[in-house]
Symmetry: D2
Subunit: 486 residues, 4 copies
């Protein structure tokens, strides 16, 4: 159910390449395969023999780039970015890569993640006269680099990286090198690949490596700074105070199923989530169906584990991955539906297990249950292949407030009533951890599960006060993860 306003929004995908004459087209291709990570803006900075040039705009990648303009971006290295932006900040100035032109040099910056001390840094620097070109927190890094007292660019970057907190996968393109850096918890994924012609690629997901024909080399590790230039790849660390806590929502929902994260295939992890969900919340039914496309893997796992037939009960319009004119509320109530439709011939008269990957506000779930019942489904048992989302995220997912999360505001029984489902079950946190199966020794199976249990792996800095105030207003009453309506 990607692209739903009511679903989760990632804060970006990044792609960088060094050392190939097709740098712009490969970046375009890589971003196209990362389009699911951000649909509201896109940009590419090309490095042509030391000259940097940026083209960026609001819209999907293909709204921003046409063949003529892409052709103009000749160069040997590039970074690119696809962006999701929150309502208030969809300004051109915030579209990345952010270009920086100094009297003597040029930089371009692309960032996936969210900083937790951005406001403090910005206010401090502004009070000293600093001027920011964007309202994005990504820009802080550039200011800190320029203000660093270190003497080499490498050390200035490390100095700056040590001052920012939160989740970040940064790409920094300069006249003669491409840098990449990951936060100390590795909240966001970042991988390195190699082109057959010797060039290097650094990007958010391995699916982008496949898209450009690159071979996987390694995952970037928490606290690392990578530098690629004409001498090759050099890996160093800017801090050793690290602990892997990769965002579990990448496995649950964000990443493409063909991507691998720290060696774990995303589709396979989702299948295991579905299988464990079937163990935790079995139900008598005639079939299992998934919400296309993100929940199909989990639905397969549930079907296989439960022995129930896996079926196609919902069809998604293949052309909905782009702008279309929305029906009015009145027309929606008359049954007009542009995007999803139930397969009446499959579900009519049947008891259906409906698997979805996660629930945010709950509006989509209610709509889909209604769609199936209108198409004649006898029973709809809703199974969610992740735990209840109850807490905000400050590391790069657009859940700013618990008040937006239905599971933070309703009990299981209330939710089941809201959705008009016949039963409801969520995956437990331990099962999620087991399904991913990352064995690095870090807590929670090396995952960040803070939006499920409220235990954040880092201090919250600028967000602590707001978080405390909001939590005081909420009651998290459930200790169970499933309910059946009688």
């Amino acid at each position: 159910m990607q692209l739903e306003v009511s679903h989760l929004n990632e804060e970006c995908g990044v792609f960088g390449v060094w050392g190939t004459p097709d740098a712009a087209f490969l970046t375009y291709t890589g971003l196209f395969s990362l389009q699911h990570r951000g649909q509201e803006g896109a940009g590419i900075t090309i490095n042509n023999n030391g000259q940097l040039r940026t083209k960026r705009d609001l819209g999907l990648l293909n709204d921003v780039f046409n063949a003529v303009e892409l052709e103009k971006l000749q160069g040997q290295a590039a970074i690119g970015h696809v962006r999701y932006s929150t309502a208030g900040s969809n300004l051109l100035e915030n579209i990345q890569p952010l270009p920086f032109n100094f009297s003597d040099t040029q930089f371009a910056l692309a960032h996936n993640g969210n900083l937790t001390n951005a406001q403090t840094i910005r206010q401090t620097l502004e009070s000293r006269g600093a001027i920011y070109q964007s309202s994005s927190d990504s820009e802080n890094l550039m200011h800190l680099i320029r203000l660093s007292k270190e003497t080499t660019l490498d050390e200035q970057i490390k100095d700056a990286l040590r001052q920012i907190k939160g989740g970040f996968a940064y790409l920094l393109l300069t006249k003669d090198s491409l840098y990449a850096a990951l936060d100390p918890n590795g909240f966001r994924p970042l991988v390195v690949g190699k082109l057959s012609n010797g060039g290097f690629v650094i990007c958010s997901e391995t699916c982008a490596l496949s898209a450009v024909g690159a071979t996987f080399l390694c995952d970037v590790q928490p606290g690392q700074l990578l530098k690629i230039d004409n001498n090759g790849l050099a890996i160093s660390t800017y801090t050793t105070d690290t602990q892997l806590a990769i965002c579990s929502m990448e496995f649950i929902y964000f990443a493409r199923p063909d991507s691998d994260i720290y060696g774990v295939n995303v589709h396979s992890a989702r299948k295991r989530m579905g299988a464990l969900l079937a163990k935790e919340h079995p139900v008598k039914a005639d079939m299992v169906i998934g919400v296309p496309n993100s929940s199909l893997s989990a639905a397969m796992g549930y079907a296989q584990e439960s022995g129930l037939p896996y079926e196609m009960g919902l069809v998604k319009n293949q052309y909905s991955g782009r702008t279309f004119i929305q029906p009015t509320k009145k027309l929606r109530e008359q049954g007009v539906n542009m995007k999803l439709s139930a397969v009446r011939g499959v579900v009519a008269g049947k008891r259906v297990v409906l698997v979805d990957d996660s629930i945010v506000r709950g509006t989509t779930s209610r709509r889909i249950v209604k769609l199936l019942k209108d198409a004649g489904a006898a029973e709809v048992h809703l199974r969610i292949a992740s735990p209840e989302l109850k807490y905000p995220c400050f590391y790069g997912i657009d859940i700013q407030h618990a008040s937006e999360l239905i599971a933070a505001n309703q009990t299981l029984t209330e939710m089941c009533q809201t959705f008009s489902s016949d039963s409801l079950g969520f995956l437990s946190v331990p099962s999620l951890i087991q399904a991913v199966g990352l064995e690095t020794g870090a807590p929670n199976g090396s995952l960040c599960v803070a939006y499920f249990d409220g235990n954040y792996p880092t201090p919250l800095y600028d967000y602590q006060k707001q978080y405390n105030e909001e939590q005081n207003k909420l009651h998290h009453r459930d200790v169970i993860t499933g309910v059946t309506m009688s």
Copy 2:
């Protein structure tokens, strides 16, 4: 694998509505759900209190219509069209609905199908001074109606319909009525639905009824002429010399899985094709995967019947349902792939049954087998959930020449070598007929299977000579439907 240049192309989808203030938006919504039937042009004619106005252009529906322009199309009835056009004819003049403005009246015409005697009619009429606005054969009907000596429009239309041959589902909008007509063999699907406010909908597939919240009323039958006006729906016949022979490729590939055709759900029919394919061509393997999205139903059926796990071995970019910049041949050879990717974590080291719905030129099949083997698949067993395409179609599918069809030019063994697959199997025609299971008593289970066996249900008229010449050059050698490479 829709949208592939090398795959089959439908010649259109039609949608008409009568008697609702939201006529334009419902037509837009209906066409959006029929976009898979034609991506190269779209148009809507609105009837506003007897005034007809047409907006049409090249491109996807959302390239042609924006909110401002759609808003302008106020009216109570409308017809719309999405078009696939062959390379040489992508002119604006050919985009439908075709508008006709006479001194005293207005018409608009939308057509899905292909006429077999269009050239003869056109040449005859042109020699008498007729001028065609388009190069499309659809326009013939309008000329014949205007030339008819009958005295009422109803009879003029019937007179004209009796003169045209081939496959056609026509919508004709006038100042005070909406007509729909189906050819005597019912080659193309056409269904009627009802809106909750009393209005009527006629369109190519039931998925469009669902999309606009309409209830299914009936399938239009071969030889029928329907007329909808403010008095309601009237059904008559223009000929009784009919015999249902609906295009089997609608079940195999064209129609959306959630659509029902003559009561048969398309997804379910495809599952049965897959299951019978498993019976006809079993193989020892580790998993079954389908080519997304059109072959997933057949793959589910194969998996269920064979007992092998159904897996997600290929992922399709969700944003590829729109224009994107194509990589150069050189980049494609370096492994750049914008649209499909193999899930290495799933297929590596495994014996894979790859189910595809059909094979036209064979280029896609070769590419996908290579993709899977490059991702480490140990074996790839290609299973096609339809018989071998060996003959051209003249009723509305864009296969003009047998020379374009690999199965008309290579033996099974040669094809298997071409694809580098480890074995290859096609569904037999009897199994196809059984899988669809239409029981109207007409030959071939009421299906047209002429592209598989060369037995056309009608004379070929203008195409007979070309067909004979081409067939004399070809040798159809296979009597078997499967082969395994040793």
Copy 3:
């Protein structure tokens, strides 16, 4: 004051070229120099080795063609058209050249003018089954050509030309030739030129010959049919019943000042109109100013004859020759003016003779007098360098109804009050004839002056009835041509 909605609108400009590899660009250039003849649509048909291809759309030439699309139009011959269209008919279908594709051949048609028997022909042909692609009367010629019983295309065209009445300058492009035809009265201008490489050009005005570097060869004469092919230029006549009556508004307003019509330079003719206007309506004043740009020539002539200084009292925004966002009525009343401004430093406290080329509705005149008085002009004496427009035109100017013409509805004194001018004078018809000075022996100095005196040089055919009805409602009271307010 071109482009004013309230001013006159020409019905088109045409340009054709044969025998040069730059056919498309020269046509583009020629149309650019003819843009003043039509701003609402443009198109080019290219002939590439016998293949005709048309690109046309609504908008200014530069909205329709960009460099990429122009580049695609490779060929050795072309015709083009810029169109003014009346409100109700701004449909893409009416934009010319009109393309015609027959089973065995192709044509394209471009037309400047208006037919007076178009409705009769169309109804007759439609009743026999003919279908028109456009609502434009231009299309009649093609139908008549195709219906002609003559045996050669040349004779078919002549046969057709003899059946149409009214004003027309036609260009017809075929696979192997370029035809041009002018009506028996030569209402619209049409000239022939030669390129240095031997190619031929036929177009509406000599300014287009200059623009493409062609040398003037001859004016096309009434009743002529020209044919250009690879053998060169052949001139024949389709009728000898001719009498030159070229539209006097071409000299007064439409044509560009650098164009020559039948050997008379347009700017020079306008200067003579201004000079004779000064003789007929002298006035004591401090300066003479013209309404930019079309009235500057006449103002120069008035100033020179009267001995008064020629001044720049009005400035026109140079960027107004394109679409801009119109101010609301409220803002206009507050003095917001996008297009024209008075030069306060020049006119303040002065007695001004304001020369305009013609008056249609009178709204512009009222606005400009107010502009000057608001800028401090002591007196404004309005002098019109043409007679009073009192009758409609049926040969190609968009004055359909006398009710739209202020001079048909108000006396001189009433108009002078309406405009708040201190005096008002129009040029007399004899002076107009003298100023142009065409000496071919035809009546009215070979000019059509029917909109001034109601004496039409041809029967009005389809328009006669409407004309009679409208005239019965009007009273043309003035016999004088000037008035001064006391």
Copy 4:
């Protein structure tokens, strides 16, 4: 001859308004009337109850704003900018107004002019960590304001203004006020007007006051800082070390003829330049013509003084004030001309005085002389209504290098040969000063004439070194201002 690449380019026009509900539309209208000052970018910042929002883009005003987008800019105050940009800097980032978003406030900046110490300031600030969003020198002011140690915004602005050198007319929009500032020499024009509803307007030229229906209030004086807020207009000075030296090219070429600068009407000043030119360089001839549109005033003055007839010998395409597709060099040599054409009927066989406002590279002059001679002119006497441009400008005109100026590189005789003119004469500096006639007591009649005589009214700061090097390579040999070829 505006818009010619080879002509001079102004560096911008500014418009600001405070206290009216139509702030955006008035700014749009004002900028439309200032479009001649910059055609490569445009932008508007609106202040809606303290919220600032900027829309800006490359292109003409009407490419940047459509009715829908303009409608969105609701607010009570606004500033706008039209920009000319040098080739290397046509980046979106440089289009003004420059928006600045701080944690606690917002600003927007629009600037006409050029700073002479921008590089030094920027390098100094960058070395302390400052980051500039643009490559434009305009941005310096914002950094200096934010770095100022003063305690009120008014004083911070004055502090900053005292640190920048060169030519500047600045508009600064804040949440609750609109500031305007002019450099100590008043190099660029800036005027204040009042709307009938009490609102204020500040803009580059009085033609923009007329366009929006505002009444002229005063010229901004050198060294002034104006502040407009809901309390009205307050004028103060940030320095008293001032001396008026307004750019004489504003009178000669840049400003619109209907504008008044320091009380002098621009058209009238140009007429006087033409008249004095006739006195200094009389010639026997048949007529005087001007290069449209900028030289028509001077040509009128020359004609009046000399007693020769003023004629229209050149016509400019009225649609050339926008993008059009350029002909190739080959086509230009064949005589293809999109923009200017000679009126053969006027100039053939005649001795022509051709008046142009100024000469930069000389390519245009050569082209126009050839155009006239090709059209049959017997003699062409070139008269330039300004002195020889021999030195670069550093205060806001885009003449960076004397090497670009033909008069800095050729003698009068050489130029006359280059142009193929029969004689050549320039206006003297004293006559220019007399023609403008500003009597404030400042040197050179309060004009900057540095590009004519090399005497700059200020130090050149960052440009001094480059200037010295270039001057050493050039020889300025002429002491006379006219020459006749024998």
